[in-house]
Symmetry: C2
Subunit: 329 residues, 2 copies
Amino acid sequence: MMRIAVDAMGGDFGASPLVEGAISALKEKNFTLVLVGNEEVLRPLVPSSFANRVQIVHCDDVITMDDLATSAIKRKNSSIYVAIDMLKNKSVDAVVSAGHSGATMSLATLRIGRLSGISRPAICTLMPRIDGNKSLVVDAGANVDCKAENLFEFGIMGHEYACSILKYQNARIGILSNGEEECKGNEISKNAFMYLKSHPSFIGNIEGNNIFDASVEVIVCDGFVGNIVLKTSEGVADSIVYLLKTYIKSSPLGTFGSLFLKSVFSKLKKQIDYAEYGGAPLLGIDGNVIICHGKSNSKAMKNAIFQAIASIENNINDRILSALAKYKS
Amino acid sequence: MMRIAVDAMGGDFGASPLVEGAISALKEKNFTLVLVGNEEVLRPLVPSSFANRVQIVHCDDVITMDDLATSAIKRKNSSIYVAIDMLKNKSVDAVVSAGHSGATMSLATLRIGRLSGISRPAICTLMPRIDGNKSLVVDAGANVDCKAENLFEFGIMGHEYACSILKYQNARIGILSNGEEECKGNEISKNAFMYLKSHPSFIGNIEGNNIFDASVEVIVCDGFVGNIVLKTSEGVADSIVYLLKTYIKSSPLGTFGSLFLKSVFSKLKKQIDYAEYGGAPLLGIDGNVIICHGKSNSKAMKNAIFQAIASIENNINDRILSALAKYKS
C-alpha cells in the first residue's frame, strides 16, 4: 500500500483545511495517509470512519514562516524534519508539505539527497494557460543564482514531468528570455540555449506572454526570474479582477452586472486558481516531494496528494535519470 | 520655440498614425514638429493648416525591425540616424521614435553619449496600477547583463523621472526581487541593495505583485528581468480578457452580457493600455529621447510627444546629474 506523509502543521491557516483535504483524497484514492505533527491537534480532525487508513506520527516542533530555512537542519523534532526523514528511510513514498518551503527544500536536499546527475533540485510550478491546460515554470524559486548547466537540468526534469504526469505527448521546452531570437538572452540563458539544443523538444527562446498562450509547455528560468514571474502574474490577475469589479459596481446596471458576472468570475477563478492543481513538485530529489502554497485550502491539499500519487505511479525520477543519461553529453 | 523630431518611418503600421498623433500634439502644445523620413510619404500626411509648424527633413533609408541594431551606426541616411544627429547638434530638443528600439538606443548612446556619471542608459517603462497612477520599471530591456552600480543608477534616474514628470512627491524606489526581506535576491540585486540604502526614498526589496498595487513607484531590475515582466504582464492581461470574453459568449445571457461589459472592458483597456501614456523615456542619455512601441497608434505618439515636452520643461537630465552627485559616494 502506498504511504503518503503530510506535514500538517506548517500551513498559514493551521492543520484543519490540510487534514480535510487529505481526507478527501483518501475518499478517491487508495493509499495510507501519514499525518505528521502534533497528535493533540491532529487526532480530533480525523473522522473515525477513516481512522484505520490514517497514521499519526507525533512531533512537538513546527518550523514557521518566520524561521530561517537554515535552522531547519537542527530542528530534528519538527514536523517537516520528521516527514522528510520518513521519506529518507522509505517508510513513506512521498511527502506533501504546506509549511516553510525553504525548510522543506533544504531538508529534502540535505537529508534525502539529489538524483544522480542533478546539481540543483528545482521547484516546478504549474501555470494556467488559455487552452485550459497547464504549463510548467522551472525553477520557480529554489535557486536564485544559476549556471547554464542548472537551467539545462531544469529543462530535462520539466519535460519528463510534463510528459509523464501532465500527459503531454511532446512537451516543448523553451528558455524564458527577452526575445525569441537565438541571440537574445543574458549570459547564462544563452549558454543554456547551447546545452538544450540537443533535446528534440527544445524550441528555443520564448517570451513572458508565451507562458499563457499554449505555445510551450516547459518554461526554463532561474528561480529569481521564476519567482518574479509568478508574483507578477498573480499581481496582474488580481488587479484586473479588482478593476473589473470596481467598474461593474459603479456602472448603472451594477447590481445586475455583478450577479451576471458571478458565474463568469467563478469560471475564471477556477481556471487560474492554484488550488485547482495542487502544489509544486520539488524535482531533482531522490524521492517524491510536493511543496504546497502556505495558503493552501483543502482542495489544494487534495490535488497535491494526487500529484504525489501520480509521481510515484509514473516513476518520475527513473524517467529523469534516463533522460539525463541520454541528453547530458 | 521648442523643436521635437519624430522618426516617422520605423513604426509597424507605417507613417500615417504616427504623423496623425504628432499633429494632434501640435493642436494642444506649442512646439515645432520636425518629421524625419521620406518626404514623399510624409508631406501628404501633413494638413496644410499645420504646414508652417512642421519641418520635414528628408532621408531615404529606414532601419526596419529585421535589421540588426549594430548596423545602425553605418546607416547614416536612415531616419533614426538623422533624427539622433539633429539632437546631438542641438537643432532639436528631443527625439521621439517608434522605430527599431535597439537602433535608437545604440545610436543615442554612441552619437549623443551618456550623462556624466551614468554607465548604462536605461529604458524606463510606465506600468498601470490599481489606483490609476503609474509605476516605472527601470530597466525594461536596454541592458541584459547588469552590475549592481547599473541598478543603483536606474533607481536614481527613475526616482527623478517619477518626481519631476509623473509629479510624485516622494517616488519610492524598490528592487524587484524574489522576496521582501533584505536577505532575498540574487548576487547583483543584493549588492544593489547596499548601494541604494543611502537614498531616502529606497524602501528595499519588492515582489512582482507590488508593481501594480501602488506600494512602490520605481521598480529597479536589469533589462532581462524587466522585459520578461513586461511581456508576462501583457500575457496575463490578454489571457484574462480573452477568457472572460469566451465565458461570457458561452453564457446563457451571452449577447446581453457582452453589451453590458463593453463599457467595462473599454475602461479596463484605457487603464492598462500603453497608448494612454505614450512611450518609454531612454534615461541616462545627454539629451531627451522617447522610445515608442513599434505598434504605436496616434494616441501613443501624441502622448509620447507630451512626455518629451515634459522632459524638456522639467530639465530631467539636470535633476539626474544633481541626484547622482548627491548619492553616488
